[in-house]
Amino acid sequence: MAIAQPGSTDPLNAPDHALLHRIIAADPTATVQSLTVDSSDNVKALNGNFVIGTSGKGIDFSVDGSAAGMTSELLDDYEEGTWTPVVIFTTGGDLSVTYSYQVGTYQKVGNWVIASCNLRTTGFTHTTASGSLTITGFPFAHSGTSNYDNFSAAGWRGITKASYTNIGAYMAGAESQCYFYASGSGQVFTDVGVADVPTGGTVILKFTLNYQI
């Protein structure tokens, strides 16, 4: 069944006209089909996109069974783009950083953000900076939920922390910047601080952090 017949001046000439009373063709003289429903009841947009016309509306999956703890079955947003990761310490002091590349990309699916960071410094010097190694510039703020940090593994260079073997990026509630936790067998979880990232080194940080907004 074609909802809008090619060349038709009446876009509503399908058999079940009454069910389609809200479909209005933008161009009734169009000579190609725009929207079809096939014999399996699949709806196809042949030439364009399905465009959600109202913010907060989307695709409702509530017909499917729900898992315990379910809070929403509406997929109401998707977006992709870029962001610019920037290396700082909690207190920047005289920190000076130049980059050979600093690339950030993101996808937002519903209320989750997938943010990738890929950077390498060409210059990295500091004498008066203090605090934790931090990446700023994230595209969205983490939700304000307390005790709900999001972690990811990270690849790195330029960090020296004796007895620690793993470093991961984490973002806490209401933040839009991430810090780095170091961990190792028998070691206490601890932030990567200014003393662990020596001046004059080359810093490389690569990770993909998923977080809720």
Binding site: T82, W83, F138, A174, E175
Partner: protein, 80 residues
Amino acid sequence: MLEKKVVIDSIEVLETGHIQVRQATKIIEDGKELSKSYHRWVVLPGDDYSTQDERVKKVAEVIHTKEVVDTYKAQQLENK
């Protein structure tokens, strides 16, 4: 004629005082948009917003009160 347009197309203020900014880069040919890409960032309470877009600056001037900044800083400490 091809035209490149860079605009701030979304300024969103969260309850926490974070200002989420979206910049759209559009490639337009004869009035028809051929492509659009997004770049995003967040202006945090307490951030220096002097280099931001004029509209973002005006929003930050209103939103980033001392109380909002102090609450955010306290939340940061709590996260540690």
